[in-house]
Amino acid sequence: MNLIRTTLAITWKELQVTLGDRGLLAVLFLLPLIFSTLFSLSQQGALDEATGATALTVEVFVVNEDDGIYGAQVAEALKSMTVLEVEELASAGEADTRVGEGERTAAIIIPAGFSAGIDAYRPVSLKVVVDPVQQGFAGVVVGLASFAASPVSIQGELLEGTRTFLDEAGVLRDAPPELVRAVEAQTVGAIMAQLQEMRNRPPIAVASEGLVEPSEPLNLIDSFMPAFAVMFAFFLVGHIGQTFHKERDEGTFRRLLASPLSRASIVAGPMVAYMIVVVLQVVFLFGVGAGLFKLKLGDSLPGLLVVSLALGLVVSTFGLLLGVLARTGKQADTLGTLVAFVLPFISGIFPMNGVQPAYLSGGVLGTMGNYIPHMHAAEGYRLVMTGEGTVETVLAQVGFLLIFAVIFFVIASRRLRFD
């Protein structure tokens, strides 16, 4: 009889039994998702604060009662600021009322005649109304409004300066008014263009070097999701040990032994099934992580698959070992749960005070991690997901996992009894 076909028959049966257990599915698939999401979100704020990744945003109303070009420029400048979340309103009265009701932190009002005033070189001002209970933001909003108005202010100054210069020089004294306005506009436009160029390409640049690359904000889900995936893969260990005893207690093992199945099929069939469950678990977690939380998967899906298969093999053999060593199914389940909770923490796969797993910092956890399969699986995932790893570069981690699997299997098979 075909060894592979009978082995796969057992694999298929084991998958049906395992995937039909809703409680187990919740533990294997939903809990790691919930835990990694909660842990990431709860610690993301602290990380962002530490790295300065999050900008302050202030919600304001902007009312432009001016009908000229300068009022429109200031309104556009305010809307383009990332620190401001702007909602435009038609009247200053409405803005005043709604800020008073606490809808937004402040209102910035561009009064009627703002452009005409600049044209006439009369003093003009923006009006800022701040929610009385958020007075702490008053200085911030006034500063931002001044910053938005500064180009217009410069432009007004330039226009007045140009006029004064042309007037005092007397070069356009007899020229028609259209020509005078055209020369003023051309002069101011040329100077403003130069100023804009200087703003874009400052003659003196200040270079700064930060400890953290500012280009992309750090995402803690990248650290927590693989750690929880590894941790919860080992929750299968208790189930495997318990199933080992259940088969014996309920007599199905006797029925398998009475069939023409080889003993290799009886052992290998469930192990293949549990490897598949671990791979499905990782695919689900990383898939949801990538889809919903922008989890970075790296460039090597084969690399992820190889690490997952090796992890699945370790979990299967560990479960078999636990089943063989435990006296009862309940004992196997309890030991499995204990192992699943304790080993991830002492192997240092979770980030401590930062984004990197604790084992990378060395120390006790780093040393202990070398002797625990969790660390090698987590490191394999980390290498692939940070873009450093391919199938070839994770071979060391896969090799360590296979060594663990062989050790577990050899010990288990020496103690395994078929009668």
Binding site: T6, E250, R254, R255, L257, S259, P260, L261
Partner: protein, 335 residues
């Protein structure tokens, strides 16, 4: 008739304890053969060795012409096993269970589907085939347990106490299925039980097993014929050799002997379970074999009255396998 099974001095030892101690028997093709004995007699261990679950310490057997030690795969293809436990996957449906047990015997595709539907018909559970086993009643589970042993069409079916914990209706259905499999399909069956009524109803021949040995093996008619009449078991206040001789000499009695009393129902420290006054001899069980139980009983009571000996219990065993077992071992099947 050719033999489907020939067991030759099978022994299974666990340390110094011999669970099976040199059992030999033959089963003919198409026969329903019973292994009757109390719990712990060695019936299940014998079946486990014959089905390849356990390796014999010594001895061997041939099934369908194949040696169980040297050709286990061929033997396993001939055998079907219905274990005493409900050896099923409770969360899976009956159909899925049967498909799995068919696949491990190499069945695939249409042949597998046909076999599954066939055995579902045999146990009359086609309509509930897609329900998970865990939702079945105890009797239905037992029936699917039997179906799982039949799915690959074995020539020799081992039924190990298949009616334990089963309601009367399902028990009758199991009996009908066994008889039908034997009658209509010519299937050879080895049926173990400690219920003598089942063995009497189903089996052509019976081996009575006790303490790992076969103590008698024949047709049921011949085994019962060994006794000639019934057996009376009587508990006496006291007994001595003279009294035993007097009872043995009664015309309707063919023999009388002492039987070791069963363990007390209550431990001494739990309270007074003693019927006799302090200082009186321990009550003693006497087994009386007779040609006709009723005549013998009247004579025995008369004999006791003459000697002023009170009796504490009386049980009459009409000739059946139970009384045969009592005759052979001095104890009841279900003690």
């Amino acid at each position: 008739m050719p033999h489907i099974l020939e067991a030759d001095k099978l022994v299974k030892k666990y340390g110094d304890l011999a669970a099976v101690d040199g059992i030999s028997f033959d089963v003919e093709e198409g026969e329903v053969f019973g292994l009757l004995g109390p719990n712990g007699a060695g019936k299940t261990t014998t079946i486990s060795m014959l089905t390849g679950v356990l390796e014999p310490t010594s001895g061997t057997a041939r099934i369908g012409g194949h040696d169980i030690l040297t050709e286990p795969k061929a033997v396993k293809q001939i055998n079907g096993l219905v274990p005493q436990d409900l050896a099923l996957y409770p969360t899976l449906s009956a159909r899925t269970n049967l498909q799995f047990f068919g696949r491990i015997y190499g069945l695939r595709g249409k042949a597998l589907s046909e076999r599954v539907e066939d055995v579902l018909r045999v146990v009359a559970l086609t309509e509930r085939a897609n329900d998970p086993i865990e939702k079945y009643s105890g009797g239905m589970k037992r029936r699917i347990n039997i179906a799982a042993g039949l799915v690959h069409q074995p020539r020799l079916l081992f039924l190990d106490e298949p009616t334990v914990g089963v309601d009367p209706q399902s028990r009758n259905h199991i009996f009908e299925s066994v008889l039908q499999l034997n009658r209509d399909r010519g299937m050879s069956i080895i049926y173990t039980s400690h219920y003598m009524e089942e063995v009497e109803l189903l089996c052509n021949r019976v081996a009575i097993v006790d303490q790992g040995r076969i103590i008698a093996m024949d047709t049921i008619r011949n085994l019962i014929g060994m006794l000639g009449g019934g057996v009376i078991q009587i508990g006496l206040e006291r007994v001595d050799d003279e009294m035993l001789a007097a009872i043995s000499a009664l015309p309707a009695v063919t023999g009388a002997s002492r039987v070791a009393p069963p363990a007390p129902a209550t431990a001494p420290e739990e309270g007074p379970a003693v019927l006799a006054p302090p200082g009186a001899p321990e009550p003693t069980l006497v087994k009386i074999e007779s040609k006709r139980s009723q005549d013998a009983l009247v004579q025995v009571i008369g004999c006791l009255n003459e000697r002023d000996v009170a009796f504490t219990s009386i049980e009459i065993f009409e000739p059946n396998l139970e009384s045969v077992f009592l005759h052979l071992t001095g104890k009841k099947l279900r003690e």
